[in-house]
Assembly symmetry: D4
Homo-oligomer: 248 residues x 8
Amino acid sequence: MEQAREILEKLKNGEISVEEAEQYFRSEPFHEMGFAKLDTHRELRSGFPEVIYCAGKPDDYLVSIYKKMVEADGRAFGTRATKEQFELVRAEISDITYDPVSRILKVERVQSEGIGLVAVCCAGTADIPVAEEAAQTAEYFGTKVERVYDVGVSGIHRLLSKVELLQSANCVIAIAGMEGALASVIGGLVRNPVIAVPTSVGYGASFEGLSALLTMINSCANGIAVVNIDNGYGAGYLATQINRLAEK
Amino acid sequence: MEQAREILEKLKNGEISVEEAEQYFRSEPFHEMGFAKLDTHRELRSGFPEVIYCAGKPDDYLVSIYKKMVEADGRAFGTRATKEQFELVRAEISDITYDPVSRILKVERVQSEGIGLVAVCCAGTADIPVAEEAAQTAEYFGTKVERVYDVGVSGIHRLLSKVELLQSANCVIAIAGMEGALASVIGGLVRNPVIAVPTSVGYGASFEGLSALLTMINSCANGIAVVNIDNGYGAGYLATQINRLAEK
Amino acid sequence: MEQAREILEKLKNGEISVEEAEQYFRSEPFHEMGFAKLDTHRELRSGFPEVIYCAGKPDDYLVSIYKKMVEADGRAFGTRATKEQFELVRAEISDITYDPVSRILKVERVQSEGIGLVAVCCAGTADIPVAEEAAQTAEYFGTKVERVYDVGVSGIHRLLSKVELLQSANCVIAIAGMEGALASVIGGLVRNPVIAVPTSVGYGASFEGLSALLTMINSCANGIAVVNIDNGYGAGYLATQINRLAEK
Amino acid sequence: MEQAREILEKLKNGEISVEEAEQYFRSEPFHEMGFAKLDTHRELRSGFPEVIYCAGKPDDYLVSIYKKMVEADGRAFGTRATKEQFELVRAEISDITYDPVSRILKVERVQSEGIGLVAVCCAGTADIPVAEEAAQTAEYFGTKVERVYDVGVSGIHRLLSKVELLQSANCVIAIAGMEGALASVIGGLVRNPVIAVPTSVGYGASFEGLSALLTMINSCANGIAVVNIDNGYGAGYLATQINRLAEK
Amino acid sequence: MEQAREILEKLKNGEISVEEAEQYFRSEPFHEMGFAKLDTHRELRSGFPEVIYCAGKPDDYLVSIYKKMVEADGRAFGTRATKEQFELVRAEISDITYDPVSRILKVERVQSEGIGLVAVCCAGTADIPVAEEAAQTAEYFGTKVERVYDVGVSGIHRLLSKVELLQSANCVIAIAGMEGALASVIGGLVRNPVIAVPTSVGYGASFEGLSALLTMINSCANGIAVVNIDNGYGAGYLATQINRLAEK
Amino acid sequence: MEQAREILEKLKNGEISVEEAEQYFRSEPFHEMGFAKLDTHRELRSGFPEVIYCAGKPDDYLVSIYKKMVEADGRAFGTRATKEQFELVRAEISDITYDPVSRILKVERVQSEGIGLVAVCCAGTADIPVAEEAAQTAEYFGTKVERVYDVGVSGIHRLLSKVELLQSANCVIAIAGMEGALASVIGGLVRNPVIAVPTSVGYGASFEGLSALLTMINSCANGIAVVNIDNGYGAGYLATQINRLAEK
Amino acid sequence: MEQAREILEKLKNGEISVEEAEQYFRSEPFHEMGFAKLDTHRELRSGFPEVIYCAGKPDDYLVSIYKKMVEADGRAFGTRATKEQFELVRAEISDITYDPVSRILKVERVQSEGIGLVAVCCAGTADIPVAEEAAQTAEYFGTKVERVYDVGVSGIHRLLSKVELLQSANCVIAIAGMEGALASVIGGLVRNPVIAVPTSVGYGASFEGLSALLTMINSCANGIAVVNIDNGYGAGYLATQINRLAEK
Amino acid sequence: MEQAREILEKLKNGEISVEEAEQYFRSEPFHEMGFAKLDTHRELRSGFPEVIYCAGKPDDYLVSIYKKMVEADGRAFGTRATKEQFELVRAEISDITYDPVSRILKVERVQSEGIGLVAVCCAGTADIPVAEEAAQTAEYFGTKVERVYDVGVSGIHRLLSKVELLQSANCVIAIAGMEGALASVIGGLVRNPVIAVPTSVGYGASFEGLSALLTMINSCANGIAVVNIDNGYGAGYLATQINRLAEK
């Protein structure tokens, strides 16, 4: 009920069009697909379209979800896709694209220029897949992104050479595996929020990212919050929320 | 070096006064106290004054830090203080105040009205100390705060009755112990960032907050990031950063 | 000894037939197969026939157990079977069926209509294999089941749209991976028992289901108990016990 | 909204009185106390009155909650209370009683005879506090309880001497610390559900109950579900739900 | 030095032959193979020949160790061997035998009748590989073994039917995965030592045997000690030591 | 039933007296004390009298158990007792004795000379309380004990100077905290079983004995089995079983 | 035996005096005190006198060890002492001194100037007790020490202002709790070894120092090794070994 | 800035040549490759050239890094390489060599004789890959190495036969999996630093090296520090630093 009022207020304030408001009142809040319930009101409610977590989805579920979303929206965005899934969906949607580094599988027929600025930093080259998931997610959601890679704390001069860039961003995403110390050092250098992403990069006592996660959660620097191990998508989403607030 | 340039640019843009810029160039970047190095440039650099983590500080260190900061700044803010520490410092600084719920020990001679809006939610009454640490931290840093307490997910109607308030905030702080499910439900209801704070409230397999921490880190909802167990201060700081960006 | 008396009382009360009672006294309490001891009195004792955990069983053991059970009982039910095991057993028992989603491998020559009502809910599509194991187990044991899938707490309106159905069930099975918050929310909405099943769905700090297990064990809602990670079978069994008590 | 309909149907079916239905429509669904939101519709909704978790509640909160509940309902039931809390509340409510073994603090002006049967078993004498919390909770909620204490599996004849009693119960609560094997053995002996409660009794590698929790969650027996370490209350609640279904 | 004296005393007491004593004084205490140091005095010192842990040994190391040992001793015994390793070594030693269940790869040209009695029990059929490793190890070292398989505690009557056998053994090996409760129940039934072997059988929260290990270490029964997860060999060795002492 | 036959056979073989057999048939297998079931047949069955775990026992339970046992048997043996418990029980049983190092509280009116030999070794002086619990337990049960203390592996010459003594024992108990390496070194030096007891001695990453437990469970030496952290009693019991077998 | 030769060679090379060599051959390699074996040859063997770990030592053991060591050597050095232990020992040895910060209790009648240089760095003021334990240990063993405190990575300019000092040390000790990132940053700045000491400073997910330990063990920088949580003593010892090698 | 001065001082003291100093001032401190920042000043700064961690590097990144480094330096050294990576890089750099045991992939056109002495010890043959990584790393960096393999503590005479060699080394690397006790025993035998490397060798409760890591971190011996599980490279690097200091 509250949402109805919110929609109407948005309409009145010009935040949404009559068509968008109409879509809300004409449709069910989710589309029942039997095995899934597609959240058709999600963008109206949250400002973000629904996104597909491809890992482990049965082939037929995956294809029908992509088709349904492209049909409805003209675009679709999925994470953790394999090359096999790419080929499968491409048989149905010919203009779908796949990036083997970030493992993002998307249809994006219209591209907008990004707003604001988010800096995506990572400690080593092995962290780049997570960094690209974060960067491309933020870009898909309309954020301007700068990449600052291979700036791990064991050679601090590489990071210090980029301080000005980091200080100019509305939000910094700090991505690191192994000991994960990057977030704390960045947290001490900037005035805006830092989103820390531990990665599963490492071996031995890195315990698949647990060590980096604990480092980041215990950071002695202020202004840092943490998302799940390897969760580039989540960081890109949250950075976009913050960037939008700053550019509002 | 970069900082010097930044200071000068801020001066030119009117973001800081000549006096503030002068302070930067006249003083060392930190004040050496032997056992500690007070970060005298911190507010210029980060927009936030330094804060005192009182837990476990030897008595004489604590008192001299409070005195030094009040002298320099006319205010001081400490967390995790005990009643004994309060009495100790009050002997030197008579207008210091102490809140036994949040355990915040502060001198705040001028109070400003808060800007923007941050909602601080907690699941149960036992989470209130952490919630108050978050709320009062944000308020000290100039943020307007609304408190929404005892809205745990096992009685979801209590939370749903507050949805409009949550949706109007620039940032929501979601605080819960035990199973920590509150953050996920809120994350699905709002469009702005959610900062999740696991608390050590619970018993048995809650493992002093580890269970809630894992719940929050694994949240299936988007737009959620997590700070350390019981770290109300960190959440209040980060929420303030986001709130300032939104109100800029 | 007590069991003998119990059997006789059941016979007198008409709960079992003379043939069933005779079977008890004529046979050993288990059938020694060398590598295994088939529990031939199990159904008399517990009301449930023995079930086969197929995972990791050597091929020849598996086939001889299925043959022995179908011979004795005209039916057999196994969980965690692979497609290869299905083909192996089908060579001996032609009317055996296999469901690749639930991985249940069964011979069921007579199907009865279920009694009562158990609702099987799951948070995401990746949890469906566990949900189907639970649902089909309960159905095999004679329970009527309603499936409510893809109702994770990050879009709470999907779950709320099904409240009446959940409230009408004798028992609700709540299945979720990642942060596992579904059980707590359902626990607050219904008056009958909730059986929570954590799943190994997730990544990073979900630790193969440990995070969801901890969430569910620590639930702040009442009337919830937890079975092992991915243990759909156990939940279906327990729900059937409760459903039978309710429909007695 | 669904709840309104449910209330009306209950009224029509004679399950609740006009007064009770009136209470629903006249009152808010919860009573806002500032620091807490008392769930005034809980018994209508779940069939159970709200219960107070006393541990760590500030004194003034505790007293006002007890007073509010006794005023509204003529009774109140709290767990994990200390002797100091008892004395504090007794100053306001003279007929309150406290059991130092179970640590239950309650006002119960009318006592009803229990229905059905729940058996509460524990492995050793050190588990008795948890067992009494379970037993007294179930009794408060109207269940008939039989206690079977000190029947740990290392002297299996003690348990076997009680099999008939266990088999006659609608539900068995199995409570054990250390290695927690009791639940598995009972699970193999009865046909009704077993609720397993790990306790923090033990030392060394029992890790405050974690060992017993893992044992119970991994039980090879069927029909067992687990609640949190030391959560006698949760087991008593769930057993009552099952017992009510059986006696309906 | 002490060993020299011990050897001489053994010779004098007739415990070893002149040839054996001579071997001690003529040879180095170990045979340096570059990558390994074969312990040539081991049997004199410990009463047990050296045994080969095959898992992960490079092919050429493995073959040369088997050859060296068979040359020196006319026998060799290895655990955790694969079928590939069997074929590799068989190319050099034609009378070597391999058991795919226990994964033992051995040359045993003379077989002696076992002495005393050790009972090897396991909870389920999936534990048989570990049980066979234990049983065959004990047999190789000269112990008489009785196997008691599929006697898990969830059907306690199967175990109770074998109590007399267990009570007649000098030592009982109790092998179980999942919740591992078998050891505690056996410990309460016999008067001789119980060696508990947790197995990695199970899923979910069994954590590859950790759950069973914790159960067994925390056993409330007396006379139980634990070896590593899946360490059938270690249990067979220790049981042989105890059996020898009893039969001395 | 099997036990009855066993008792009769023991009587026939002269292992027990007519009085002892009579006690079995005249009494119940356990004495019901309400809060506890004293195992009155235990010594007949296992060869060991029941022992009292004093930690956490309510005062009145403790006193009545000691009184009951001394009455029945003329002796009683309890572990983990406090000085307060000693004084409490002494008020009722004047000849009870207490050792503050081992924390053993016992009545032992007749002392027998020990048989065989068990060596009790510990790594450091801080492990002595556990070592004394082990040694005094074994002595109470009739075992001759030699103590070898402060022989940690960081000064291996101290241990090597005692090798002959260790080699002459039927069983060695190896007790160590911190890194717990003592058991492995002893295991390589002796031919009889080694019972390893991890202790909670240490700090930091010793995690209250978990580190030592893992070390001992993973020992590369043969003939080692492990009991719970700080479980001197369990080691003394098991060593006595082995020693009795050897001296039979 | 090898040691004897080593002693003689040292004597010949003038590394030890005739008196020291004589002491070796006249005395036993350890002094048996019943509860302990004092390692009288330790300094000859390792170059370091034995040190007393005071925590948890019974009073009479502690006093007699201090007396024995001062008698033999004219000095004694103990760690983790309490004020009560200080007073106890002072009653016997009047010139003993105690530092409440480092908790070091020592008799040091002759002080030598330190050689070489070790830098002891710590992240926050709460780490100072561990830092002082490290610094004073190194000084006692003859090392020159520079202290660099409160240089945590969240304000990296404080650390960078000390780089030259760190680069001039033979070894740097890096001490930090919480997220423990200090060691990685220092490791990237210096060419000599870094010894990392995690501390138990922190709260929540710092898990008493485990988080910092994992950070340091996983460091992406080279030339870092880690000692136990809070083990300032161990770091001071190892740094002295390295410093001596450098100054040889 | 400090580094510039340091370079100039080194030039003046003849520690570096004019050409090396020139390289510092003419080049950037790192070479930006887009996906990576090659640290071109590293050897000047740390005395060690940059090393390549091959595991998981994308093929094209790997090849271009090797080419870039060989071009610049005439040598390159990588760890954790696969045979496939070897073949890939060999296509571009024909004189590259690969050792399948240590998995080191290197170009080393000029070989120098090593200085000083480091002893590399390992407990079992399965630890040899880690030992070779350590040994070959140290050798590449100019250290003389002695290998002492298969000296696990369960046959202590093998280790004791090598004591003199260990005592003559400037640093001992102690490598062990399973229970990891080797480091403690060596630590008690030598006067120079011991670097302990836990390996992932083992099974069951070895938890992929965690058990050995905890053993080593908790060592009761002095002069031991620990690197990450399987981190032979890190140990070889640190041992070289210590060896260089000793040979300076």
